[in-house]
């Protein structure tokens, strides 16, 4: 086949694939911008005729959306910070100190094995425990569960980033008279800043997107997160499509913006550090 034909064919295939993937997203955004009346047009329109942001205002104010957003942010930020602190405490010894290989690989393997547990199997016993502790429908319960569930990812990501920082730099600081703590504070921590930030972004996006735990462990807007609210817009008896679409768009925006910002590290995060973008 001549080169030009191949090129045209490739372009055609890629355009078809891109349209298939992009169109559903486009239709959601378009629906979210339609006024209520346009929703009931005999033949639904593909492009909003009179775009409006009213649906967003409605989801955010009338339907408690902003309360749920704040809950999501609080739960996500707290769980991210906690997971990173715990992961750092675990990763520091296994990457910076001569801990035996068996201990090291046990820690890593065990935490990876958590990734294999379906959350539903874990949440059934947690549900009883959390109710017994009086934490049902409280954000701290979610924060605790999110921290544990994202710990494997935090450990593996931080481990990857810390391994890239040569041991010798800290050792050099220590031979120059710094204590181990000083070397950690003034050498290792600043050097791992990028890695910590990347891990934080990805962890937060995961916490943000989490649905099952929040769905089971919360009951009212006091502790519900945004995805639970969006689910409520979908399964209610009479779906209002444009509110539902607006909720969907809001749910997408934050992780999308964060992940595009941290795009070099997204695949690293999703594959527990196996794929590295250089």
């Amino acid at each position: 086949m001549p080169r030009s034909v191949t090129r045209v064919l490739t372009a055609v295939v890629l355009v078809i694939v891109v349209v298939l993937f992009a169109f559903p997203l486009y239709y959601m955004v378009a629906t979210s911008l339609k006024p209520r009346a346009e929703l009931f047009a005999a033949v639904p329109t593909l492009v909003p005729q009179a775009p409006t942001l009213r649906n967003y205002a409605e989801v955010l104010s009338d339907k408690n959306g902003s309360t749920l957003l704040i809950n999501s942010v609080i739960a996500g930020v707290s769980a991210t910070v906690l997971a990173l602190i715990v992961a750092f405490a675990i990763c520091y010894p296994i990457t910076r100190l001569p801990v035996s290989r068996r201990v090291r690989s046990f820690v890593l393997n065990w935490s990876l094995s958590l990734r294999f547990l379906p959350p539903i199997a874990v949440v059934i016993p947690y549900f009883a425990l959390i109710r017994a502790l009086g934490l049902y429908n409280q954000l701290p319960a979610l924060i605790l569960v999110y921290t544990i569930f994202n710990l494997p990812l935090s450990i593996w990501m931080l481990k990857g980033f810390l391994e890239e920082i040569p041991l010798e730099i800290e050792e050099a600081a220590q031979t120059d008279g710094a204590t181990r703590w000083q070397a950690f504070r003034s050498v290792l921590l600043p050097l791992s800043r990028t890695g910590i930030l990347a891990a934080a972004i990805i962890l937060f996006a995961f916490d943000w997107a989490e649905f099952l735990f929040a769905f089971i462990l919360t009951a009212t807007p006091q502790a519900m997160t945004f995805p639970v609210g969006v689910q409520g817009l979908v399964t209610q008896f009479d779906i209002i499509y444009n509110d539902m679409a607006a909720g969907g768009v809001i749910a997408i925006l934050i992780p999308l913006a964060l992940m595009i910002g941290a795009r070099r590290y997204v695949m690293t995060g999703l594959t527990f550090g196996v794929i590295r973008e250089k």
Binding site: T6, T10, V13, L14, F23, P24, L25, Y27, M28, L39, V43, V86, A89, P93, L97, P98, V99, V103, R104, S105, V107, S113, L114, R115, P118, P119, I120, A121, I124, P125, F127, A128, L129, I165, L167, E168, I169, E171, A172, R180, A205, A209, L212, P227, V230, T235, Y241, M244, G247, A251, I252, P255, L256, M259, R263, V266, L270, T271, V274, I275
Partner: protein, 310 residues
């Protein structure tokens, strides 16, 4: 200052520093390592193990706290709906996994071999990330709008071309197809990104040598590229199997497990037993079985992973 600068400047010094670390200092450091690691890691293990112990306890006792032996396990495992849920999960996996892998691999090869422009490659990279980072619930919303009976895009197109509406989400034979396409939509790009990353590591020399020898595209894939991709294919399988077993959000939003139980996969079934029928005894027994099975499955599958070889 970036990491690279610092390593370049301290390379020589570091070598000397490393030589000075004597054996006794080393074992002291190892003790320090364990002292730092054990309290935190121990606590994490305890917190993560609590659900398992609790589930075993709940499964073995009745609501009033008396021991009931293995009765809950018997009820859970003999329930025909469990078999049904298992079967539906297998069908879902059998549709979704091969499609995603073949499609993702095919697209990766296509872009790798024909798209040379760095800008277009970067654009595809970001575009492929979009479905992956979207919350599953929002993916459910997206596809509600595709499959809905009155307002959905598909029925809109069917209507315009003079066909009858199709109830994509409430006809038993179609619901499985519909929720599976959502999975394929969301996760084919994930396979693509991993495969594409893998193809970038293929040795250009051997590819060129093969081309000089007149090897076909297929031979080039089969004998060269596939060798580089094999560990990554296993990795994809690992993550995708783990994900298929936990599928919940988008199915719950789209069909709620129905119609009937045609899309009631394992996670949805466990949810129903625990929270719809409030049968915590049976649900805990199921949770114990699932956790034990997954741990075993993990031990087997992790031996083939391209991770940690030290």
């Amino acid at each position: 200052m970036s990491v690279e600068d610092l390593t370049a400047n301290t390379g020589g010094l570091a070598f000397g520093a490393r030589l000075r670390t004597t054996w006794s200092a080393r074992s002291g450091q190892e003790r320090l390592g364990l002292r730092l690691l054990l309290p935190v890691f121990g606590l994490v293990v305890v917190i993560a193990t609590i659900p398992f112990i609790l589930a075993v306890y709940t499964a073995l006792t009745s609501d009033s706290g008396e021991l009931v032996g293995l009765r809950n396990f018997e009820r859970a495992l003999a329930n025909p709906r469990l078999v049904e849920a298992f079967k539906e999960t297998l069908i879902y996996a059998a549709i979704v996994l091969p499609t995603e892998i073949l499609l993702g691999l095919g697209l990766a090869l296509l872009v790798h071999r024909t798209v040379r422009s760095v800008a277009i490659r970067a654009l595809i990279y970001v575009a492929a990330m979009i479905p992956i980072v979207i919350p599953q619930v929002a993916v459910g919303v997206v596809f509600r709008l595709v499959y809905a009976s009155d307002y959905g895009v598909l029925n809109l197109v069917l209507g315009k071309s003079g066909h009858d509406q199709i109830l994509w989400l409430s006809v038993p034979s179609l619901a499985m197809f519909s929720v599976a396409t959502v999975d394929i939509w969301q996760w084919t790009p994930f396979v693509y990104l991993i495969m594409f990353a893998g193809l970038q590591t293929v040795s250009q020399e051997s590819v060129e040598a093969a081309q000089v020898d007149g090897a076909s595209s297929w031979a080039q894939f089969r004998h060269i590229e596939l060798n580089y991709l094999r560990p990554l294919l296993l990795l994809v399988l690992f993550f995708r199997i783990a994900d298929v077993l936990r599928v919940f959000d988008h199915v719950y939003v789209l069909t709620g497990g129905g119609p009937g139980a045609t899309t009631q996969f394992l996670s949805l079934y466990l949810y129903d037993v625990a929270f719809k029928f409030s049968d915590l005894g049976q649900a805990s027994a199921l949770a114990v079985v699932v956790m034990a099975a997954m741990t075993f499955f993990y031990t087997v599958i992790s031996r083939f992973l391209p991770a940690e070889r030290r």
